[in-house]
């Protein structure tokens, strides 16, 4: 495989192709017939996925830096480069994106009735934007892609969404834009600092990492970046846009939103927040705040999910809970924690994506998502029930599924540094069973009372094609996570080293007012030195 890839010079053009092929596909879809648009979009995005698979082999597992990196000047006067690269953190995010997009498109065949060309064009544009976010190694370029993903999603929710689609679309847009624009000011601040220090303007992440920042500056910039990413994640209490957007979005929109768009936030934590502001990131107050918010998110979202009559809203809230585990794992600042966080990101992408697809299939059959409207569906649609149950169990985090690996590692990593928080968060896993299983029971088991449910069709061939790879991956990752973990590890080590390097100056008196809420052992000895 490696030989074939080398023969076609894969490493040289693959990343660019992954960003720009979807754009090309978008143009093709726009020029195709209204009826065939969906097929063009599906096959095209499948092709992009096949292409992206090459990354698995082209990627050197033992190396933590940026791979297949390339950089061309884009706006020389500002030092902006068109620079792409992939490492152990972004590799899986890219694969997740290219993997879910064709499935989401295939899953929307029956759902999207009107203006199909525009819809599939926007889906491909969205894919290009998200892949760009994960591959950009220039902060300016990252910001451009980060913002660019908003537009297609805004239209996808706003045009093809449910009853309150416009409200949901604009809320989604304004919330996210609010955070990212403040981040833009932070980026410019970093840029100005770098320009003063280096003498040349640059937005390259590797260069910006060299900029020394005082504790206060780090805290401010951390806040600006963290706000942007926390809204995207979304971290409690910034999550209120999510249930609206998820419920109103059409099935494929929800799938992409849950599977990849939310990951842009936690990815931002790992790629930018921790490396750029290591001092602020391990400040005990900051860590406590982030962790406590994550735990509140986990517990609160679980309780809110438990009382939702609408199955889609229930799943939307589970996103908040799962992403809480990711944030928890990341701010544990341990290898296990961050690895766990990343696996939860993958697992959540698979299981929640699949859940939204399944709910979309239910909706197509019955035109309702009320849990009460179903019951005993498992008897008439056994395949449907099987897929749903496995997915729900993966979502809960049953051992043997991907969810277990991720949540276990995240909690383990958290326990190493913050045992109390880890114990509270563990309760979240139990809550997950508490909200998910009754829903599964009410929909698929119980008595088959309602006559509408008797005629429920089982999964069609197309639907099986969508769900099989998702379910297979959930189980595969659950049983054999090592190939994933070993590819992530070096890159996570790089991030952690960077954080640990900054651990010595972190002890500056100004930075450590001494927080009681902290349990971080690595911050215990406080040596005072001169403040900035």
């Amino acid at each position: 495989m490696t030989l074939i890839l080398e023969a076609i010079g894969y490493g040289g053009w693959a990343l660019h192709a992954l960003v720009w092929l979807p754009v090309l596909g978008m143009l093709l879809v726009l020029r195709s017939e209204e009826e065939s648009a969906k097929h063009v979009a599906f096959w095209w995005s499948l092709g992009v996925f096949v292409l992206s698979l090459g990354l698995w082999w082209a990627f050197e597992p033992g190396w933590g830096g940026m791979q297949l990196a390339s950089s061309t000047p884009w706006i020389p006067a500002w030092g902006v480069d068109y620079a792409l690269g992939v490492d152990g953190i972004s590799l899986f995010m890219v694969l997740l994106t290219t993997f879910t997009t064709p499935l989401a498109i295939l899953g929307s065949y029956r759902y999207i009735g009107k203006r199909q060309r525009a819809f599939y064009a926007l889906m491909l544009l969205l894919e290009a934007g998200v892949v760009g976010v994960f591959l950009a190694t220039d902060v300016f370029l990252f910001y451009v892609f980060f913002e660019l993903t908003l537009v297609p999603m805004y239209f996808i929710v706003g045009i093809w969404g449910g009853e309150r689609r416009i409200y949901a679309a604009i809320k989604f847009f304004l919330y996210t834009a609010f955070g990212s624009l403040l981040m833009l000011v932070g980026i410019l601040y970093l840029f100005m600092k770098a320009k003063t220090m280096l003498g040349v303007p640059t937005f390259a992440l590797a260069e910006l990492l060299q900029v020394p920042l005082s504790g206060t500056e780090q805290l401010w910039l951390f806040s600006a970046f963290a706000l942007a990413f926390s809204i995207k994640v979304p971290l409690f209490p910034l999550h209120t846009w999510l249930p609206d957007a998820h419920v109103e979005a059409p099935t494929p929109g929800s799938v992409v939103l849950a599977a990849v768009l939310l990951k842009m936030g936690t990815y931002g934590f790992l790629r930018f927040l921790l490396p750029l502001f290591p001092v602020a990131s391990q400040h005990p107050t900051v860590v406590s705040v982030m962790m406590v918010l994550a735990v509140i998110g986990i517990v609160y979202a679980a309780w809110v999910a438990a009382v939702q009559p609408d199955a889609k809203k229930l799943v939307a809230y589970t996103s908040v809970a799962h992403m809480g585990f990711v944030v928890l794992g990341i701010f544990a600042l341990t290898l296990n924690g961050i690895q766990g966080g990343l696996v939860v990101m993958i697992s959540h992408g698979l299981s929640t994506g699949a859940l939204f697809l399944l709910l979309g299939m239910l909706y197509e059959r019955r035109h309702t998502r009320e849990i009460e409207a179903f019951g005993g569906v498992g008897r008439v649609a056994p395949l449907f029930a099987t897929a749903f149950v496995i997915t729900a169990l993966a979502s809960i985090g049953l051992p043997g599924t991907s969810g277990f690996v991720g949540e276990f590692l995240a909690l383990l990593g958290t326990f190493e540094t913050h045992p109390t928080i880890a114990i509270v968060a563990s309760a979240g896993v139990i809550f997950a069973a508490y909200y998910m299983l009754p829903m599964v029971q009410k929909v698929f088991f119980n008595a088959l009372e309602k006559p509408e449910n008797r005629e429920m069709e089982d999964l069609s061939g197309r639907e099986l094609v969508i769900l099989t790879p998702l379910v297979a991956l959930m189980i595969l990752v659950g049983w054999h996570p090592t190939p994933i973990l070993e590819r992530m590890e070096p890159s996570i080590e790089v991030v952690l080293e960077r954080v640990e390097e900054a651990a010595a100056p972190v002890m500056e008196a100004e930075m450590l007012p001494g927080s009681e809420t902290s349990h971080a052992p690595e911050t215990a000895p406080t040596t005072s030195s001169e403040t900035d």
Binding site: A77, W78, R115, L148, I159, R165, I170, L181
Partner: protein
Amino acid sequence: MELDFSRQLHYVWALLPEIILCVWGMGVLIAGVSGPAHRGEDHAVSEDPAFGTGSGLGWVSLVGLLIAAFFNGWLYTLDEVGRGAVVAVDDFRLFANWIFLGGAALSILISFTYVYRNRLQAGEFFSLILFATAGMMFMAGARDLMLLFLGLEVMSIAVYALTAFNRRDRRGAEAGLKYFLLGAFATGFFLYGIALVYGATGSTNIDTIAAVVSGGRAREGFLTLGIALMTIGFAFKVSAVPFHMWTPDVYEGAPAPVTAFMSVGVKAAAFVAFIRVFLVGFESVSDQWYPVLWWLAAITMVGANLMALSQTNVKRMLAYSSVAHAGYLLVAVAAGNETAAAGMLFYLLVYTVMNVGAFAVVIGVAHQGEERLQIEDYSGFGRKRPELAVFLTIFLLSLAGFPGTGGFMGKIYLLQGAAESNLWYLATILVLTTVASYYYYLRVAWYMWMRETTSEDQHDLVVTPLPMKAALIIAVAVVLYLGIFPSSMMEFARAGVEGLGALGGGLLGVHP
């Protein structure tokens, strides 16, 4: 060729584009008066309004702009010796001239059918646009406050007349009167400010003023008062809050192509002159005016964006949006460094193109008249006229400063200028008000794409004749080009402000 201003003839060379425009404008005027429309003959000659009666004068005016543009390019070959002349021949002026000429050309392209359908006097209409453009160019080239005032008046009076141009439209008359009265008042302030500055420094030449002021030889009280009054005059012309009260009414009442023209041209001219007077002439006393501009910028951004949120008339919404953009540009004046000034030039260019583009679609939706300007009238537009709706969406995203469009690059440029002068609070206000602006720009988009038409034939009468199509395609191309490949234009804008500062130095920027 070197310009030697001791010889009168060299003034002609230095002012050739302006002179051409003025002469051309008079020619168009005379041709219009002696044309068939004025003899009371039947108006409708050709079905296609692009080639109907009076439209010939539009094409002729475009040729005039083209010739002026040619000589504007020729001016790059001339070297200015010393800076004692009344008129500047520097890259700053020439870059600004491109903006005015481009804005005027686009405005003429979108006004063909409008002029025809509303039976306006084509000769007067197009010649007034040419005169106003010449006035703007005088303002950009003025190195003397008197020439600046002259340019301001030439521009303003032409625009007052254009505002009230449709005699059959009451709102136009009202807007014209309002604009004229308030504008005359503001001009009074401005002129009085010039007089006081003259009293304080003994000169109206901006470079001499700079030398006197930085030498500490100016009379303090007079100077401060003069600067204050001139600030008011400029603030009125760029429509900064709280001197913006006229803007929504005038923008709503004026014929739509005129609104497009003045929202870009008048603003650009006023800002260019603003930069030259304040950052060159009064640079050394920036501590006096800087706080005022800081607050002007802040309240303009906040006030305009908040007021725009509740507008239901698209023309009014764009009026408040134009006030908001004045706020963003004021940030550049407050920052006052070279990056900010270059950013301002770049932004004015992008703003000209995207705003005229947006107005072009508005005119189309309004059936080339003044009806159907409510936001509800855009319902289902995306379904009926997808290509126009896509264009308008791009212009709105650019106005909102979204990545991929020139508006984004312009905003980043302005933000960088603010960052260089450490104006972090202003930068933060700029981005926060931008979030607010997303709402009202996107609202038009949601009406277009996410709502159904209210009646079946709602958008059947939307016409985009050939010249308007040309303007739209040019505008979209420029907006996207500057959004994706902004580099060369950025360098060009940067070159425009190099050597602009007092006595040939660079702009130092304001250091609060």
